[in-house]
């Protein structure tokens, strides 16, 4: 499953991985805000960020090919929105600036998320005052994300093994029924999790 390998590199051991998560998050935010704040003609800034990101990738020991693939996966969206800029006077120039800004921001975030486990980012956010209820929700979400994705894969396989007719309408109905079942199961699981949490003193 492609998503399962997404944070495969976030626990490597490199100087960048060892840097304090809070510091990395702050640096990433400053970079992204900086990219949005500088005027469109500030090519020196874009170049500096690009150099920084390239160095960061080298230090991080993450295969550059992996980051590139992730970037390319998200790039169509960037190009799609940036394409709108073509429709105004001097559009090509505007579009190039948008794509550069956006790609650099994306690369910054990819470098951050692949050198910092999400649990640690969450710890930082919690320290700066993310509300407790949201933190609990995020914890549970991250924990059960792949459990549910796998559950839905299993259900789909079981269903497919008993389906002999194909067609778009049937596919929609059966996928939707699957989602319905997945929600029912999720809510049952939520009850069991509540029991398990209570059993260990949560109140």
């Amino acid at each position: 499953m492609r998503t399962l390998a997404l944070d495969a590199y976030s626990r490597l051991d490199s100087p960048l991985h060892r840097t304090t998560p809070g510091l990395k998050l702050l640096a990433a935010l400053v970079t992204v805000v900086g990219l949005a704040a500088v005027p469109t003609t500030a090519w020196w800034f874009f170049l500096a960020v690009a150099t920084g990101l390239a160095m960061g990738t080298l230090i991080s020991a993450i295969p550059p090919g992996f980051l590139m693939r992730r970037l390319l996966l998200l790039e169509p969206l960037v190009l799609g929105v940036a394409g709108l800029a073509l429709l105004q006077p001097n559009g090509l120039n505007a579009m190039i600036v948008l794509v550069v800004r956006s790609t650099l921001s994306l690369m910054t975030m990819l470098l951050l998320t692949n050198t910092t486990p999400f649990a640690e980012l969450l710890r930082v956010l919690r320290r700066v005052g993310l509300p407790e209820l949201l933190v609990t929700t995020l914890h549970l979400m991250v924990r059960y994300l792949f459990v549910l994705v796998q559950e839905s894969e299993r259900m789909r396989r079981a269903r497919r093994s008993r389906t002999f007719v194909t067609g778009r309408r049937l596919a929609w109905r059966s996928s939707a029924t699957l989602l319905g079942q997945l929600f029912v199961r999720s809510s049952e699981r939520a009850n069991r999790i509540y029991a398990a949490m209570c059993a260990r003193g949560w109140q």
Binding site: L6, D7, L29, V32, L35, A36, R70, L77, V78, V81, A82, G83, L84, A85, L86, L87, Q88, L98, R101, S102, L104, S105, L106, M109, T113, F118, P131, L133, L134, T136, T137, L138, H139, L140, M141, V142, R143, Y144, L148, V149, S152, R168, A171, W172, S175, A176, T177, L178, L179, G180, Q181, L182, F183, V184, S186, S187, R189, A190, N191, I193
Partner: protein, 320 residues
């Protein structure tokens, strides 16, 4: 609809965050007051569910496929405040774990997909539910409100992109809204099918499907009125706003737009541009209006079809 970083300027990003954070705060406070402890884990599981649901592809045409967004679905299942929090969690994970949707643009994405979609769609849902309280009404309201939520969210997204100067208002608004009038149909269809599946498997999970009374003709009339109002909102919206670029600019670029639009955007959109009306905004208004009425009628047909008794009847209308 996830806006990546690099598109919004600081002003637009800050304004969007300034609008979405208070909404989030109100929802959070309401939940802290009213949510029973035993329902807390369900929020996390619902967030994981939305994420898993968004990965399931629904085939559309020619190898393309769409997926559920789930804002209105979660609102119907858990209530608007919980849905807002759940969607916030989903967007935060997509942003910080998968780099999908920007950090600077987070407030904007939150506004579109957690606030406008959920609250807008849910308001429509509640309104329709009051007027159509029976089982069929549940499906009609689900289908229509899920569609409306997506269209509202796309409008809000268009406003942000235009305000940030990505593209002129007169182009970005029709492009976004027209596409999402179509995408929303898929959302409405999936949401309805999922709600129906849950209603059949575990009706306790649907607090809003229990009431079962026959609607009076008057209520039907008001329901149509509400749909018409939504249609008018869609219709009037492009004119009500103070567009950064005037209509003249749009008219001037329209010829140009007609040549480029089909290649840049999925094909069906071009069908929705009615040529010869003079401006893309007017065209959007008209298609929006017609679209709303059409979608409302479709929602009715869908509900009728889904609730058809198991024995197939040749000809005659299915009875409830």
């Amino acid at each position: 609809m996830h806006i990546p970083d690099g598109f919004l300027d600081l002003k637009t990003a800050a304004t969007s965050a300034g609008l979405s954070l208070p909404a989030f705060w109100v929802a959070l406070k309401r939940l802290q007051r009213t949510l029973p402890r035993r329902r807390v884990p369900l929020l996390g599981l619902a967030a994981a569910f939305v994420f898993a649901a968004q990965m399931l592809n629904f085939p559309v045409a020619g190898g393309t496929s769409g997926h559920l967004m789930g804002g209105v679905l979660v609102a119907i299942l858990l209530g608007p405040s919980a849905a807002l929090l759940v969607l916030t969690a989903v967007l935060l994970v997509q942003c910080l774990l998968f780099a999908d949707g920007g950090v600077l643009a987070f407030g904007a994405n939150l506004l579109n997909m957690a606030v406008v979609d959920v609250l807008g769609g849910y308001t429509v849902f509640v309104g329709l539910r009051h007027l159509l309280p029976n089982r069929r009404g549940l499906l009609v309201a689900t289908a229509f409100s899920a569609w409306a939520g997506i269209v509202f969210a796309s409008m809000s997204c268009a406003v942000q992109l235009a305000a940030a100067g990505v593209a002129p208002w007169g182009l970005v608004f029709p492009a976004m809204v027209n596409i999402h009038i179509l995408i929303g149909v898929g959302e409405g269809l999936i949401t309805t099918l999922v709600v129906l599946a849950i209603a059949q498997a575990q009706p306790d999970l649907l607090p809003s499907c229990k009431r079962d009374t026959t609607p009076s003709p008057l209520r039907h009339l008001i329901a149509y009125g509400l749909a018409l109002t939504v249609a008018l909102v869609v219709f009037v919206a492009p004119f009500a706003s103070k567009a950064p670029d005037g209509l003249e600019r749009v008219a001037a670029t329209l010829g140009f737009a007609h040549h480029t639009v089909p290649s840049l955007l999925p094909a069906p959109m071009s069908d929705y541009q009615i040529p010869g009306i003079g401006s893309a905004l007017v065209a959007t208004g008209v298609t929006g209006f017609l679209g709303t009425v059409l979608v409302f009628a479709l929602a009715h047909l869908l509900a009728l079809r889904l609730l058809k008794p198991p024995l197939p009847q040749a000809g005659g209308a299915p009875r409830l």
